[in-house]
C-alpha cells in the first residue's frame, strides 16, 4: 500500500533549551486509506504530533512528507490542502456565524466561486444529516452537532487525510458513537485516510493500526488486537483497558482463565456462551 504520510526522526521542543522534547525522534508511516489511531496518556505528545503533521507547529528537526510533498514553510499551505483537522473543543473551532457559513469557510479560503460553493455546502450539510439546522447559529447546537458541522466542513473540501485531534473527547457517549459512525462511513465513501488521536481506548479499538506514544516517544506500533492483549503494560503506560480486557481481568481474579488474545465484545460474548454451555 502507498504511504500517504511519512514521518522521519521528528523532534519538537516548545522551548529551544527544553531538555525533554515534546516529541523525541518519532518515525512512522501512514498508509493511504487506513485508520490509524495514536494513543497515549495526557501530555504524552499526541496533540503536538497532530499539529506538526499539519504544519501548525514548526518542528525542530526531522522530516514530514504528505502525499509526496515535503513539509516546509513554503509548502505548508499545499500540505494543508490535503489535510482536514477536527479539534477537541466544538465551540472554539466554529468560525462561521451559522452552520452553512461555517461549512463554507474552508471553501471561501480556497477562493471557490459562490455558484460552486452553494451546492457543495448544501450537499456536505446533508451528508452529515444537519440539513434542517443549516440556518442555525452555533449557540443553539449541541456539542455533537457542532462536531458534525466540523465534519461537514471537511466533506466540503474533500481532503485526502482527516486528523481527529481528540475530536470526541468533549462529547457525551451518544454524540461520540454518532460521530465515529459518521467518520467510518465517510472514510469508505470519500476514500479518506483517518488519523485519530485519542486517549479513549474504545475509539482506538476500531482502528486498523495503533501507535502508542509515551513521553514523546513511540513505544509500540501494532494492530489493536495485539496492543490491547497486553493488559498490564497498557496500565503502566497510563492508558485505560478496553471493556473486554477489564472483564477478563475480573474473571482471572475469580479463578476463571479466559483466552489470552484480545477479543471484541461479540467474540467475548461468544466465548462466554461456549464455556458456560460446556460445563
Amino acid at each position: 500500500m502507498e504511504n500517504i504520510i511519512e514521518v522521519k526522526h521528528l523532534t519538537y521542543r516548545y522551548q529551544a533549551d527544553d531538555p525533554r522534547p515534546a516529541l523525541n525522534d518519532v518515525s512512522f508511516t501512514v498508509h493511504a486509506g487506513e485508520w490509524l489511531a495514536i494513543v497515549g496518556h495526557n501530555g504524552s505528545g499526541k496533540s503536538t504530533l497532530a499539529k506538526s503533521l499539519d504544519g501548525l507547529l514548526p518542528f525542530t528537526t526531522g522530516e514530514i512528507t504528505v502525499g509526496g510533498i515535503q513539509l516546509t514553510p513554503e509548502t505548508v499551505w499545499q500540505v494543508r490542502e490535503k489535510i482536514g483537522m477536527i479539534f477537541q473543543n466544538p465551540d472554539n473551532q466554529f468560525v462561521g456565524a451559522t452552520v452553512e457559513d461555517d461549512v463554507a469557510f474552508g471553501l471561501e479560503n480556497r477562493q471557490m466561486p459562490r455558484t460552486e460553493m452553494l451546492p457543495r455546502v448544501k450537499a456536505a450539510i446533508a451528508r452529515v444529516g444537519m440539513s434542517e439546522f443549516a440556518q442555525r447559529e452555533p449557540s443553539s447546537l449541541s456539542g455533537g452537532q457542532k462536531q458534525r458541522v466540523a465534519l461537514a466542513g471537511i466533506v466540503a473540501i474533500a481532503p485526502d487525510v482527516l486528523i481527529l485531534d481528540e475530536a470526541t473527547s468533549m462529547l457525551d457517549p451518544q454524540g461520540r458513537r454518532e460521530m465515529l459512525a459518521l467518520v467510518r462511513e465517510l472514510r469508505q465513501t470519500q476514500h479518506l485516510t483517518v488519523i485519530s488521536i485519542t486517549h479513549d481506548i474504545d475509539e482506538a479499538t476500531i482502528a486498523d493500526r495503533v501507535l502508542v506514544i509515551d513521553d514523546g516517544q513511540l513505544v509500540d506500533e501494532a494492530a489493536p488486537a495485539t496492543i490491547f492483549a497486553q493488559g498490564e503494560r497498557l496500565v503502566e503506560l497510563g492508558l485505560d483497558l478496553p471493556f473486554t480486557e477489564k472483564l477478563k481481568a475480573a474473571l482471572r481474579q475469580r479463578g476463571i482463565e479466559p483466552p489470552a488474545d484480545y477479543q471484541g465484545a461479540a467474540e467475548m460474548e461468544e466465548w462466554l456462551w461456549q464455556s458456560l454451555s460446556n460445563t
Binding site: 501548525l56 483537522m85 466554529f94 451559522t98 459562490r114 455546502v121
Partner: protein, 266 residues
C-alpha cells in the same frame, strides 16, 4: 435585561424584515437627518406618517416600541423640561420669573424635541427589531467597502465583526457559568458598597479573560488548519441582494424627504 427592548431582534415575517439590511441601515442613517430637517407642523405630520407606516408594515406591535422608550424616558423629560424653562424670549410670554421664561416659542420647540426623540428611538428600535445582528454585520461590512480606497482593512474588520458576534452568546454562557461557579464557592455578586462590588467582579473577569485567550488561540489554529491565510484573498458565501422592494422603499423615502423639504419653513 429582559425588558430592555432596544437592540434586540424579533423574528417575524414582514416586508420590513425581508428588506436588504444595507437598505435598512442607510435608511435609518438618512432618517435621522430627515428628522432634524422637519421644523413645522406639516413636515412633522409627514414624518410621523412615514414612521407609523414603517412600523405597521413591520407587523410589530406598537407596545414594543413604547417599551423601548421606557428606559430613556427620563432623558427625554429632562431635555424637554430644560428646553421649556430656559428658551430665549420669542412669541407670547406665558410665565416669567427670574431667568425662567415659559414662552410660546419654547413651548413649541420642546414639543418638537419630544417628537424628535420619540421618532429617532422608534426608528432605531425598528431597525434592530427587524434585522438579525448577523445581517446588520454583513450590511455594515458591505457599506464600508468604499473605505478600501482610503486603505481601511474592510475585509478584516468584517471578519472580526462576524467572529465577535458569533462569540457573544458563547461568552455570555461562559460568564454565567463562571459566576455560578464562584457563587458556589462563596462570592457575593452585586452586594455591598461600590468598592466591594467592584472587587467581587475580579473572580469573574480574570477567568473570563483567560478563557477568551484560550479560545482565541484555539480558533486561530482551527482557522489556519482550514486554510485561512488572510481575509483579502477569499471568496464570499454570504452575499446580499438588492431587490425590488428595497428600491420601492427608497422611492417612498425620497418622496417623503422631498415633501418635508418642500413644506419645511426655511
Amino acid at each position: 435585561m429582559s425588558n430592555f427592548i432596544f437592540g434586540r431582534y424579533l423574528p417575524l415575517n414582514s416586508v420590513v424584515h425581508r428588506l436588504d439590511p444595507r437598505a435598512k441601515l442607510l435608511l435609518s442613517f438618512c432618517y435621522i437627518g430627515l428628522v432634524f430637517m422637519a421644523n413645522n407642523l406639516v413636515s412633522y405630520l409627514i414624518i410621523i406618517a412615514f414612521t407609523l407606516g414603517s412600523i405597521l408594515a413591520s407587523k410589530i406591535s406598537l407596545g414594543f416600541f413604547l417599551k423601548g422608550i421606557r428606559p430613556l424616558i427620563w432623558l427625554i423629560v429632562f431635555t424637554v423640561v430644560l428646553q421649556l424653562l430656559f428658551s430665549p424670549v420669542g412669541g407670547h410670554v406665558y410665565f416669567h420669573w427670574a431667568f425662567v421664561n415659559i414662552t410660546q416659542f419654547g413651548l413649541v420647540n420642546s414639543g418638537y424635541i419630544f417628537i424628535r426623540f420619540l421618532l429617532i428611538i422608534m426608528m432605531s428600535t425598528l431597525l434592530t427589531l427587524s434585522t438579525q445582528p448577523l445581517d446588520i454585520a454583513t450590511g455594515l461590512a458591505s457599506l464600508m467597502k468604499p473605505l478600501r480606497w482610503v486603505r481601511v482593512p474592510v475585509d478584516t474588520l468584517a471578519m472580526m465583526l462576524s467572529i465577535a458576534l458569533r462569540f457573544v452568546p458563547t461568552l455570555m454562557d461562559e460568564a454565567n457559568k463562571i459566576m455560578n461557579a464562584q457563587r458556589a464557592r462563596g462570592v457575593d455578586f452585586g452586594e455591598g458598597g461600590l468598592l466591594k462590588q467592584a472587587k467581587s467582579l475580579i473572580p469573574l473577569m480574570v477567568p473570563l479573560f483567560m478563557s477568551a485567550f484560550n479560545r482565541a488561540e484555539d480558533l486561530s489554529t482551527a482557522m489556519e488548519a482550514r486554510g485561512y491565510q488572510d481575509s483579502e484573498h477569499r471568496s464570499q458565501y454570504r452575499i446580499l441582494t438588492w431587490q425590488r422592494r428595497d428600491t420601492i422603499t427608497w422611492i417612498i423615502f425620497v418622496v417623503a424627504f422631498a415633501a418635508i423639504l418642500a413644506t419645511r419653513r426655511w
